[in-house]
Amino acid sequence: MEWITNPWPWYVSGPLIALIMFALLFVGKQFGMSSNLRTACSIGGAGKASDFFKFDWKKERWNLVVVLGAIIGGFLSANYLSNNTVEINPDVATKLETYGITSTGDAYLPTEIFGVESLSDPKILAVLLIGGFFVGFGSRYAGGCTSGHAISGLSNLQLPSLIAVIGFFIGGLIMINFIYPLIF
């Protein structure tokens, strides 16, 4: 059964992501996952606090259905299609050990951060909440995330998307080179 649970190589995964983008274009939509967060805020009544959330969110229901599908896809993959471990570059794994993250190769996400027992650690709670905060704030500020800018926008040769993706990497490199040593 290994052929089912083995991870997919990049040359299978990347083209399939492009197909997802084209499938959405063919039904008249645009590939972009972070806009669902804005839709969710609108449904939750955020329009009372800012006009940014006053829009016809019902037109965005299709994207929430995509999210529902992604949740189902995650469930199916984790339960039936994967052994839920990720092998990475051994040098990187060694570096993670110096941060106290030793679950590399044994888990899909580091148990030191995403394990239920880690939730009692205020530092880990802050990592999860602040990480999420920046993803939400930054993606809306930049007008898109990995799917909207790095895939859709760059495919359409949009300079704004190139600037955003350069920003993604500046932020990511600052985080792992300068901030990780301070928090882990």
């Binding site: 990347g14 990475i88 995330c145 490199l173 901030i179």
Partner: protein, 137 residues
């Protein structure tokens, strides 16, 4: 019927994200350490096909189902908006090890802690909406 199409697209997307390991914190960290070609290969090959396909669509003026134009409108130009927003997003992406698509996938995979990341992302989106007019765009 259309709802079913979106659902199927979402399910396939979710499986791709999980099976490609693009939803794994380890792979995101490894990418920012330039430790493997894997993530660059995923994004690069998606882009190579995406660029060629998008050019074919534009040059032949191919329409979406129902005859409407495809959603390929150019984005308004700005540097601060995309650069600052992008940097903030990158900080979060590397800290949480997940971007918006994989967040939902990981919730479905049963990682309860990801709900805190999603909650943080909703708060971040909300605060952006409140501060929007005070930020450089």
């Amino acid at each position: 019927m259309k709802t079913l199409v979106y659902l199927v697209i979402g399910v396939i997307f979710g499986i791709i994200m999980y099976k490609s390991e693009a939803a794994s914190w380890f792979r995101i960290y490894e990418m920012f350490e330039f430790g493997s070609f894997h993530m660059y290969g995923i994004i690069g090959s998606a882009l190579a096909i995406g660029i060629v396909g998008t050019q074919i669509i534009k040059r032949n003026n191919i329409k979406a189902l129902g005859g409407q134009d495809m959603a390929l409108k150019p984005k308004a130009m700005s540097v601060p908006r995309y650069l600052i927003g992008g940097i903030l997003f990158g900080l979060g992406w590397a800290l949480a090890g997940a971007c918006p698509g994989p967040m939902y996938v990981l919730a479905g995979a049963g990682f309860g802690s990801i709900l805190l990341v999603i909650f943080g992302a909703l708060v971040g989106t909300f605060i952006y909406g409140v501060l929007k007019n005070k930020l450089p765009h």
